[in-house]
């Protein structure tokens, strides 16, 4: 076990130590009502620096709705901490194949949801240009997006570890 998780949260200015185990976060969670996500448990595992939290699939069941964070009586930035833990998990190579795919779409097209033929037709029906005013229409702009992502070493992060 390392001190990594807590240190990382601390470095990001996210204090999760004040938790009083009231369970408000778990009780408020729209995902937890239907899924295995237990917000309080994730935070507890993070506080105890348990590496298992990084490979915990339920980490990816949070919709980032921020209800827990709004309601926490100790003002713990719960959702922000969850996002920080996810980012560490990704650095350790834990990433769902579907999420890799979305990332690759942005790398290739500049859009997480690229234009398709059906929508091109719908655009024309509405009297809009079939190609929207986005990177889709401007190859130079798409190249800029790709250059930027390369500068951030985003592709390396996606590589399977």
């Amino acid at each position: 076990m390392s001190e990594e998780i807590l240190d990382m949260l601390k470095a990001a200015g996210l204090d999760v130590l004040a938790c009083m185990h009231c369970g408000t976060c778990t009780g408020s969670c729209p995902s937890g009502r239907h899924t295995s996500l237990n917000t309080r448990r994730i935070l507890r595992d993070a506080r105890k620096n348990r590496d298992a939290v990084l490979s915990d699939d339920s980490l990816w069941l949070c919709t980032t709705c921020y209800t827990c964070q709004e309601r926490c009586p100790r003002q713990i930035p719960i959702t922000d901490a969850l996002l920080e833990i996810r980012r560490l998990a990704v650095r350790k190579g834990f990433m769902l194949p579907e999420h890799r795919k979305v990332s690759e779409l942005v790398l290739n097209y500049g859009h997480a949801v690229p234009l398709d033929e059906e929508t091109k037709k719908k655009r024309e029906e509405l009297g809009l240009d079939p190609l929207p005013e986005t990177v889709r229409k401007y190859p130079d702009a798409l190249r800029d997006v790709q250059t930027l992502l390369r500068a951030c070493k985003f592709e390396e992060l996606l590589a399977e570890k």
Partner: protein, 300 residues
């Protein structure tokens, strides 16, 4: 009046262009100075990209903001997700010189610089502040006799410390904008609950995402409304396309029409349903379509 650039994001231009058209119609009729934001990309999606890597999330979001900075315009978003990414990135970069410096190192590679001299807006908070519900009501030419289940969506109002739009448990500002069109915003169980799509859940865990959606749909059906209204194309896609997926997955028979607020307002400002792309939705509820055509033709 505020000079704006229209940030489209991904889902509006690439799946629901009716929302793009409706936004342009509404802002034009309301006299806004709205320009296209050429060459913008994915915001990038807050739930997924912000969950993967902070540096690239910030860099991509900053690039989109800078494109608008260079036009001397504020960024207008029509999506809660785009609003979350661009507004959060804008605030973080403005408030943290180290982050700004780091992000500008990346942006230098493509000849751009984040200066921090513009604002990110969301169509709902924009319209609420100016013209505001009262003035908007006076501009309505076609009052809508509709019962609406309003879905705020999470990232419009939360985290509240950053959004500063007031109460997150039972806000009213968006309801006031809905009612300015003549429609009635009906209360329903778990109105403030998430649609279940965000955070990469819809892409990563589709079954769980649909379970959350099914719960919302059941609550909405109980309220006996004409349609759902949202201000976020990702919620819109979840409610519309997701509704068909829910029917398939759980053997239900939901057929609740879904409108982005720009489409609702467009109707009230006299645009016809086909101009607004309402028929292009996945949910095809003919009874509802007949009703809004009658309203728009002044027949009811």
């Amino acid at each position: 009046m505020t000079k704006l650039s229209l940030f489209l994001g991904c889902i509006v231009p690439n799946r629901y262009p009716g929302i793009e058209k409706a936004t342009k119609i509404c802002l034009d009729r309301l006299g806004f100075d709205l320009a296209e934001l050429s060459g913008a990309s994915c915001c990038p999606a807050p739930g997924v990209f912000k969950s993967f890597d902070k540096a690239s999330w910030l860099a991509l979001a900053a690039r989109n903001v800078v494109l608008s900075e260079e036009m001397g315009r504020e960024v207008l978003t029509i999506c809660n997700g785009c609003y979350a990414s661009l507004e959060d990135a804008n605030l973080e970069l403005k408030g943290n010189p180290d982050l700004k410096k780091e992000t500008n190192e990346y942006l230098k590679e493509i000849g751009l610089e984040f200066k921090g001299n513009t604002e990110v807006r969301h169509i709902i908070e924009l319209l609420y502040k100016d013209p505001g519900p009262e003035k908007l009501k006076a501009l309505v030419t076609t009052p809508l006799d509709l019962k609406v289940a309003l879905h705020y969506g999470c990232h419009l109002i939360k985290p509240s410390a950053e959004r500063k739009l007031g109460d997150t448990e039972s806000p009213v500002f968006f309801d006031e904008l809905v009612e300015a069109t003549g429609a009635k915003s009906v209360d329903y169980t778990d109105k403030m609950m998430c649609c279940g799509a965000g955070g990469g859940v819809r892409s990563g865990h589709v079954r769980e995402s649909l379970e959350m959606l099914e719960h919302k749909l059941a609550c909405i059906r109980e309220a006996e409304v004409d349609c759902i209204v949202n201000a976020c194309p990702f919620c819109h896609l979840q409610f519309d396309r997701g509704q068909l997926a829910v029917n398939e997955e759980f053997g239900t028979d939901y057929s609740i029409p879904v409108l982005h607020y720009s489409q609702l307002l467009g109707l009230a400002l006299g645009a016809s349903p086909d101009e607004l792309g309402i028929e292009q939705n996945a949910v095809q509820n003919l009874e509802f379509l007949a009703k809004i055509y009658e309203i728009s033709a002044g027949l009811r």
